[in-house]
Symmetry: none
Subunit: 221 residues, 4 copies
DNA sequence: CATGAATGAGGCTTCATTCAT
DNA sequence: CATGAATGAAGCCTCATTCAT
């Protein structure tokens, strides 16, 4: 290896982050080695350390990449929300599609963010936790809003609803990524909205003993 | 050090697996070291290799532990299902509680199974994938059954429903584990069933443009 | 290399420290590599880290070795001083011989201690500085004592005298070590005492302008 | 960075050597990095290699700097010695002051020369050894001269006397450098000469058993 | 069975040196 | 001349695994 291609700092760094995204997604933070990354980037060992002080810093750069994209998407969505006075349902549908589409068009990043929880420092990676929190806030905010304007029933625990939104999104996306398939986002969004509007039980069924007056889910620490 | 306490093979092995569960849950497979495990088990280094051929085999023993408990629970549930002719809704409620309770009373194991996906061999851990598949089958079977007897609407993609079940369960449980809280399972189950029966949208709202006739979510690989 | 000789911890450690002394003396702390040490000790890489947490800790173990020997010698000397009421001059002579002999029979250690000043952490190696201070205190104490009992002239700056003692010792020893020679300690001691008693100038010489009433050497920081 | 200031070769080189002196004195040869030097010189990495073929060559340039200054001083002193027919004692006093003053007004260089012994190539740095030899010759020559004209007692081993001169100088200077103090050179010189003339023992003391007839210090290799 | 000293492959990082611009 | 991105050998350290006791 003796070709000495010189790039400006930003370009090289982007190239290295790209390589790192692929490697971290494929092997996970701990298994991925610097050797993997520089091989993927076709770059010498020292070059890596010209741009990152450590493997961990490279991981953070990857998370940054996700965070930027995520923020950009959130901003786009917000802009649309105010500019476009559509029916709420349509708006929600678009949000779902946007969100799923975002995660699915950044599969490697999504894999890293959704599955590398314990990866870096087992018990405290500020930036990582921040990202996860951001993602959960994203839906939490929507839920509060929808409950505020009486769209969502008020007798449901918002934390439970949040688990529903976050859990289903995560599951749908990870499933698609694991299978390597490319789901029809519109169909998924429709089914989801349908679920939210009407439940999944065939209407007209006789009810069991007691239900429909659920208490809010309490938590005893 | 001369605490040459001699136990029969099975007991020692159990002790080691117990220690490994704690360590793998706390640190993750890659970060956990043999030293961590033998320290937790208060056992000499060599003793570990008397019971497992490698670190990976110890991990598999941990997964086995989960699998056994899971199978036992599934069997118990099946037995109850046939012996106890309750209203369906009650049955479902009990299943949910049972399932959540199972995961939450084995927090360390659950953490390992739900978060160590890429941990061992990044791209092929037969046993691990088997467990995840088993868990998904568990709900998939229930879904097929409920659709078969016309309890669940037939116009919903079973795979989507499966993502809903699996995603929500996972999320609820991981959230509780992360927070270190102990949710009220009955309340959660009630809310969940309520969601399944009626959706989360406040009834009587005017509909947006079009919905309610969702096509099944197709997947183009 | 496949011979697996098992020794008890203390023995192996001693062997490693011995190897380290040779290597550090020959190459200096920075140039010496772990590979050098384990090669000299005929031991595997991991074995080194079974006994020292780092290269620096091994260096400290080497300094400890010097410090122990030094302390032992100082104690021996003190004991003899009180038990043996010899003429002062004889006592001083013995001390010089003892001290030089000590340094010269631990050549590698002496080389390390006298020449690795900036070696470890350029600006602050507590233990290292402690040893150097100890050595200087050793002569400082003797000087104060001798001035106290009016053996040494009181019009000389004790710090200057200390520089004389320490500087000459260091120089004599390092010279011998550098040359690889083995000086006649008794002769050196005799010359030294002679110098202290009578100076080095041929007696009966006419004096220059002014001298003999030196002020104490002042220091302005 | 576009500060492409162009200097003539000699100026740039001087600037680099200046920077190197500071860095080598502060950190020692091994710990000092090219980065340290070019940072201190505010120069690009490549520029360094425009003037030196390697780090070692830069070190040699530093030693050269010392050697030049040293030679110049020696020449000055020699000139004065012949031109100025002072009493011997006064001459010696001036020499001492000159020599100490030289070392103390080039503290960084002195530190490098007196403490970087094993620094470069552990077992053979021709130029380094040359400098040390030069410095010792400086005093050796004086001693031979003084013994030749019967100023110094002839029954003292010249090598021992040399160790005395060199050791005390070194010690006084290094002490001052380490403390960061600025000793009164005249006072030091006076004390020193006093020591040489009369010893340090209070006159009129009864002698111990035997002394005063020292044999020359022999060396058995 | 149990112990823990010993092993060495492999991972992360530094830094002197080169060379395209 | 000057610059600074690029290179890769080499150093420190970790840890899964082995084996003499």
């Amino acid at each position: 290896m003796e070709k000495r291609l010189i790039l400006d700092k930003a370009t090289r760094r982007r190239q290295l982050v790209d390589a790192a995204i692929g490697v971290f997604a494929a092997k996970g933070y701990r298994v991925a080695s610097i050797t993997d990354i520089i091989t993927a980037a076709a770059v010498a060992r020292g070059t890596f350390y010209l741009h990152f002080q450590s493997k961990e810093e490279a991981f953070h750069a990857v998370l940054d990449r996700f965070h930027e994209a995520f923020t950009a998407m959130a901003a786009r969505e917000k802009a649309r929300r105010y500019g476009n006075p559509l029916a709420l349902q349509t708006r929600l549908r678009e949000s779902l599609i946007e969100w799923l589409g975002f995660l699915l068009s950044n599969r490697d990043l999504t894999k890293i963010v959704l599955r590398q929880a314990a990866a870096v420092d087992p018990d405290y990676d500020r930036q990582y936790q921040q990202i996860v929190r951001d993602m959960q806030d994203h839906s939490a905010k929507a839920i509060r809003f929808l409950q505020g304007i009486k769209i969502l029933r008020a007798d449901l625990d918002p934390r439970f609803l949040n688990s529903v939104f976050h859990g289903v999104t995560t599951q749908v996306v990870l499933q698609a990524i694991a299978d390597g398939t490319d789901p029809d986002l519109e169909a998924v969004a429709d089914q989801w909205i349908d679920l939210l509007r009407m439940g999944v039980v065939r209407p007209g069924l006789p009810t069991g003993n007691r239900a429909g007056r659920p208490r809010a889910a309490r938590t005893k620490p």
